[in-house]
Symmetry: C2
Subunit: 649 residues, 2 copies
Amino acid sequence: MSERPSRVVIENVMPEVDAGRFPIKRCPGEDVVVRACIHADSADILAACVLFKKAGEKKWQESPMRVTNAGLDLWEGRFKADGLDAMEYLVQGWVDSFATWRRGLEKKAAAGQDVGSDLLEGAQLVQAAAARVKGKPAEWLRQQAAWLSAVKSNSGDRVRMALDPELLTLMSANADRDPIGTYRTLTITMEPTRARFGAWYELFPRSASPDPKRPGRLSDVEARLPALAALGFDILYLPPIHPIGKTHRKGPNNAENAGPQDVGSPWAIGSSEGGHTAIDPSLGTLQDFDRLIIASKTHGIQVALDLALQCSPDHPYVREHPEWFRHRPDGSIKYAENPPKKYEDIYPFDFEGSAWESLWKEIRSVVLFWVQHGVKVFRVDNPHTKPYRFWEWLIQEIKRESPDVIFLAEAFTRPPVMRYLAKCGFSQSYTYFTWRNTKAELTEYLTELTQTDVHEYMRPNFFTNTPDILSPYLQTGGRAAFMIRLILAATLSATYGICGPTFELCEADALPGTEDYRDSEKYQVRYWDWEKPGNIKDLIARVNRIRRENTAFQFNTPLQFVPISSESLLAFVKTSPDGANRVLVIINLDPHAAHEGNVTIAPAALGLPDAYEVEDLLSGARYTWHGTLNYVKLAPQPMPAHIFKISHA
Amino acid sequence: MSERPSRVVIENVMPEVDAGRFPIKRCPGEDVVVRACIHADSADILAACVLFKKAGEKKWQESPMRVTNAGLDLWEGRFKADGLDAMEYLVQGWVDSFATWRRGLEKKAAAGQDVGSDLLEGAQLVQAAAARVKGKPAEWLRQQAAWLSAVKSNSGDRVRMALDPELLTLMSANADRDPIGTYRTLTITMEPTRARFGAWYELFPRSASPDPKRPGRLSDVEARLPALAALGFDILYLPPIHPIGKTHRKGPNNAENAGPQDVGSPWAIGSSEGGHTAIDPSLGTLQDFDRLIIASKTHGIQVALDLALQCSPDHPYVREHPEWFRHRPDGSIKYAENPPKKYEDIYPFDFEGSAWESLWKEIRSVVLFWVQHGVKVFRVDNPHTKPYRFWEWLIQEIKRESPDVIFLAEAFTRPPVMRYLAKCGFSQSYTYFTWRNTKAELTEYLTELTQTDVHEYMRPNFFTNTPDILSPYLQTGGRAAFMIRLILAATLSATYGICGPTFELCEADALPGTEDYRDSEKYQVRYWDWEKPGNIKDLIARVNRIRRENTAFQFNTPLQFVPISSESLLAFVKTSPDGANRVLVIINLDPHAAHEGNVTIAPAALGLPDAYEVEDLLSGARYTWHGTLNYVKLAPQPMPAHIFKISHA
């Protein structure tokens, strides 16, 4: 109780993750809208601001906060996040004595009361402010104070002078904020825009060969870059490209035993030819890889590598660093298992063993190795089987060296675990999207992702499929199912991906009763007819172009589901942050039948006149819509969706 | 990164107020149910507990937590709060290595796999546990370890031994918890049971005279104690009993100027006869007051005083401590105002002036003065016009001296302010109840008070009326309105109050267009016919007896609104914490007409058979109810409600 405490309380600051334990995430140029409940005893007028700065700097910038709901003491302010360095923000509030005094004076004067003493009080406040500023404003304030206290002058003139808005502005700008109410400092992780917006394409290099007589190599991947660029993809994600273990190697379709010609799963990393920093010689050399990176840049594509932190029994680490693995009582190293299942081709690391520190540092050096080779995007395999604290540490360490690195968490597990990995620093997260098919499922899931505070720290990456997930919907829905899922992923989420070429070729052949591809690329080399009839490459290219040309698709919020009178039709509106770009997507979720319905949009609610224009960016057709109800009908073919751009008629 | 971090994460701990900034509140014997989201990487089995202790003690007690929703990683534990000292609680979680190992062994053995190595691993775990315990259990564990590692024994026998539930119990109780996941320590303010449950009666001593020829005195209040006890009240709250100022004294009905015989408002505290520690001589002496306290105890009643922190211009403080007030530029002391309204009979304290520290300490001494005279309950006048930090400090200081003191906040202002005062330490709070009349209003308000985390720190006190609030509902609803509002207050809230005798006499005479009583006791002496026909004293006595006999009414939660097919009927179920007492209240909210409807209660949802008995504790009637729908009809008179006790038929 030695200092006079502030009367102002600041509560319920948003955004804030776990009482400030974790940062929120932003990309350069994005707004941070800060809301808080700010109040004090009595009825004094308060003022508040949000302060912000780069984490390392001393000087705060300041943005004023305004009351948005007086009855609930809700305030709002905003600032733009910028750069790639971490930022900090802070809410402060104080009693505005001059504004409070001015309000009282105004009421008393209006009631015809004697305000002689009040004017003298005001003069004292103005005089005190003059002492806090310099130069001309100080001089002007001192003059005002003198006039306010000129008891022989006309009282009405002095009241008018006291109520001069210019005086209020100058006084508010130079208020005595002491003692000030302060909330805890909150932090922002800044990441490159690609962390928010991008189209991913997953490709197995060994299946990239144009020649069915030999497996693909990195040079074949390089040759495919123009085609990928034409399709509009931003990120080319390669499954592990390291030497593959031979011990307990898996055969085609995950067979227990591989034949001598079988190539094995690239996730069984490491052989006598090297480990996590080596390249499988059958794919090429490190020089080939460097060339791929350079070529990809010329096509505006970033290469993403797979970070799979596990070893085959043949990995050099096993021999050189047995202390990084778990051991059986007989001293042998433990393979991975999920009893009674055994994964004898995989040795997991022991992240909490006695040698944990040297292991963690080694992994950091592996990531930095690839960063130095120009890799800025990592798709992390099964992060939920490694300790959270490891990821929090690793991502911070890498970002300190290279703040433009992006990490995608491939965790398919319980919601709290997926959310916590995002809190720990992953830039993006795999999601349950592949299993959300109905209108109710999609609406509920997207509401959770975009309307709750989850969107402050977790960025979804909607993959339509993965080497492990060929969903029942795709297995049974034919070509239309692929079109529908593509459009859903690409329009609902600013970041999405496909596992190609299976996806654009509408490959739907699964092992019976599973979500596994038959003859999966995971375990064998595949050769593709890249131009196979029935492919949906034109649609992919068009959708990716629409995403690039319409800012609304480059953000996950605001997303607004719109009523439409059919359980098989989903409709939603997205709007760019500046309000200039607005789109309406309507999708038929049923790949087997046409559906029709009326969309309900009150034009006034979107700031539109009663008649307005919608242009279907897929077909090029334009319609004038009238009033609140408008009719649509969508057949699964030739096009199961409208992507309307909305404009004034 | 020097210590091996725990893999276990603890999030979303409930109850928790503002990230632990404020304590939750409990009374002795109440449960603290602690919920948390607890998870780790991988699929290891976790264990968790909630620790609790008195704030001053070193040794924690421990209560296990259990999973309540595995898919969302939700855990729950509980302990009983006890005593009047502040308590602390803490959630901890760890990986249960033995249970994890045991689950794997069980699955492998069931699949017929070789478990030789696994049994040796288990032996190591058991051996390590033996080193952590003493005496017989250590011996037993060492024996088990020896058997598990006896490689020449039958493997099936060893597996059976490994899966022995007794071994699991002992291993879990002695698990290696290091490194442990720990949430922040949270605190509990402990308060006497009367902070939770009680019936308040407000009485102006000067209106307590049985003799219309002289004003009431403290001795008259003492004489009324048996009657109040017969009505079943627990707390007798007296408006300020201190000398009343003469300067700018208010006349009847808040008239600007008082006549020479006018007694003034007791809230204009202080005259030449004394201030906040003096007793108005026209009411009696300090000795009379002490006698009243003693007498009230014999009737099981506690006396509550009014803490109104303001002074009349005649208060001794004004002369002795001008530094505790605000001053005009001419040096005179500022009266209270809410421009353009002036309150010239009141000088507010300056809680943030340069002498704030000596003022705060003086107020503490005033409260302690009355505590030493046996007052343990304070109704605080307008706490929202004094700084929050002052209250937080004062209440802590008083509770340190006397932990059984209760503070009721009389703040009628915006919700965040009312909630924040409760967070700062007020035991109870006035509410918006007087203005919540319809089914929708009552349901919404009670849902906020009982179903959100507000109920962890804010205890409502439902006053039916106050000297300042004669609600339009009471003004226009006749006797039935008083009955309805009494039953609502007394059954919806464990703590409620009436301002008597106006309430039990159904006084409804207001100044036109206001909520003010005509000839309010605030400004003049009133003489009452305590037995006036039409009073509702019998109902009050019966309702208070029902509250004492039915534990369900002594808690605010759980409260469950029940569907009933009429907008004028409100129905709800309350259940005692031990589940033994269950009541169903049905009230006709319309004082002017009878209403009927069907109540929907699924008997099975309450653990009842299809036919069960309800006993109306108001009328004594018993009914057997069948199935889900049951019919009721309630006229405003003679009784607008059923208070059913539910029991098996």
